[in-house]
Amino acid sequence: MKPKRILMAKTGLDGHWRGPTIVARALRDAGFEVIMIGMATTAEIVAAAVDEDVDLVGLNIGGHIDVALRAVDAVQSAAPEMPIFAGGTIPPHACKQLEAKGLEVFPPGSMLADIVDSANRLTGLSEAP
């Protein structure tokens, strides 16, 4: 079975790396190929998602929701079939906006097991429960 590929990007310029690193490690340990891109602009995220032909895009969101929404829109327009999930310090109102765009959202306190489950589901490795 070919491993699934996940792009992990940070939309903001805030360099807290703890959360994304722990998540990336959990995803790698679950058998995913995790492509780290770090802090990236919308254009950089889209270019990376396309070149790397990933099965899933993971966005770490730490700033204003509009910046993240712009990245979501751009990925969805460039590669409509590519699923996206998001994590980070995302207040409730912003979670709702992301969910409305079809994203699965993992605010602080989310369990790694749930994030890995979501990655399995979104990349077609497992069925929705």
């Binding site: 992990m8 940070k10 939309t11 903001g12 310029l13 805030d14 360099g15 807290h16 790396w17 703890r18 994304p20 690193t21 722990i22 990336a24 490690r25 780290m36 770090g38 802090m39 602009t41 919308t42 254009a43 770490n60 700033g63 204003h64 509009d66 910046v67 310090t89 207040p91 409730p92 109102h93 912003a94 605010p107 602080p108 306190g109 369990m111 790694l112 097991a113």
Partner: protein, 543 residues
Amino acid sequence: MRAKGPDDTVQACSDIPLKPYYTAEDIPSAHAARANQAPGEAPYHRGFHPSGYRSKPWRIFQLSGFGKPEDENERIKFLLKNGETGFIMEHDRNTADHCYNVDHPEVLARREDVGLTGAVMQSVRDTAICLDGLPMDTSFGHAGGAVVQHAPFALAAYWTVAKQRGYDLERLAGTGQSDFNLTYLGCITKQQIPTDAGLRFNADIIEFCTERLPRWVPVSIAGYNGADTGLTPDQELGSLFANAVEYLDEIKKRGRIPLDVAARGCGGVSFRASIKIFEEACKMRAARLMWSDLLKERYGITDERVANLRIHCVTAGSKMAYQQPMNNLVRGALMAVSAVLGGVQSLGVSGYDEALSIPSEHAHQMSVRIQQILMEETGLTDVTDPLGGSYYVETLTAQLVEKAWTFFEEILSRGGYLACLDSGWLHAKAEENQHKEFMQTESGEANIVGVTMAHDDSSPFEIDGFIGSDDAFDVALERLAEVKRSRHEKGAADALKRLEQVCRSDDNIMPVMMDCLEAEATLGEVGDVYREVFGDWRTPIQS
């Protein structure tokens, strides 16, 4: 939350097994003799002043700021009115940490983020707006500049405003931070000067303050930023002193100022106060003891005034939960208790909305109220070092000291603190601990109330994240254009040119930085000089 060891023993965060109870026999003999010293006596783990908080309460010192400089000014005034006894200027991370102006492509791509975590201050005019009407002469001010490459600019901006208002720099009290743990370990920026250039900046600041601002705390090593990235309390201590050694050795090598004066300057530090009350209180006690021993043994400094380690403490932001945020009021209060029991000089309590956003006005007010309740109502301030002599506390203090020195020695054996940042060794340590902590929570070994247990799906106390002002970017862009239009252009260009020359030499960067600020050079222009001269630090982490 009780972390268990392999054979069901109970462990402290610092990987020290805890007994069910302690007796006099448990206190390591080497420490037992010293443990009986009174507060005010070396090795000072019990504090420097016998009268403790009776004679000098801790400073209520809250991180604050967002939006435009006037938004931040308003919030600081609100906090001072509510009882804060110092003030901290928080700068916008997008611009400040990277030394970018708002028209930099990286910032333009994220314009809505601008002002979300602090005010945008691109020139001395912005700093003047932020400081409008604030008691710079009577209050202890924190000028910002937490990130190393930003510190010279932020400090010079603050001092330039002070000069413009006619204050004597010789009498000005305050601090910046210029913290390596934040810059290179905890919150790594997209672009940053390399660590050796950072060390040079900090040594320059220490020398400049020694000569011109004797009451200023020039740099403040923040164990907090190591701890909240994953370092355990013993590692937080060990790495903090390994960092201090890096500064002092550099000052000694340069030989331009007396080492004991520099050591006094390095002795204003910050720690994280986390949720394990006794271990955290022991950490503050251990820190004072270690500093006094380090100065004596490594540098032959015994002057009591120099050995006086002043500790600012911030409660652990990462312990604040997203779920059921009102629970965080309790966590904030208890973490503050651990700091107060540890005898700290200054304290900030994280907002109950920490996991959602920067603090709302109400969250900020509650952080002040928590401190006021502890100070005024609880009797915590009645007796100095109330934990002193407890079998458990003295044992754990001694064990922490021992483990911290081991970590300190390991860092030094790996080429020192800077080398361990460059190689990523410290990052790997922090990540390993974080991973372990996550796994304990995932497996149910450790609980977080409201997160892994005691769920409450429809809490009536739910809150949303605070969003500051929505015009920070637009106003900053206008003001940037206005500064460039109305300043004396040749003066600014000359100052920047001299800055570049100084950066390429061994001269102290601060005098020319003062000139740059007076000439109204902007943050991004200063950053461009750094990028040209120093290049970029190669981050050892992958995300």
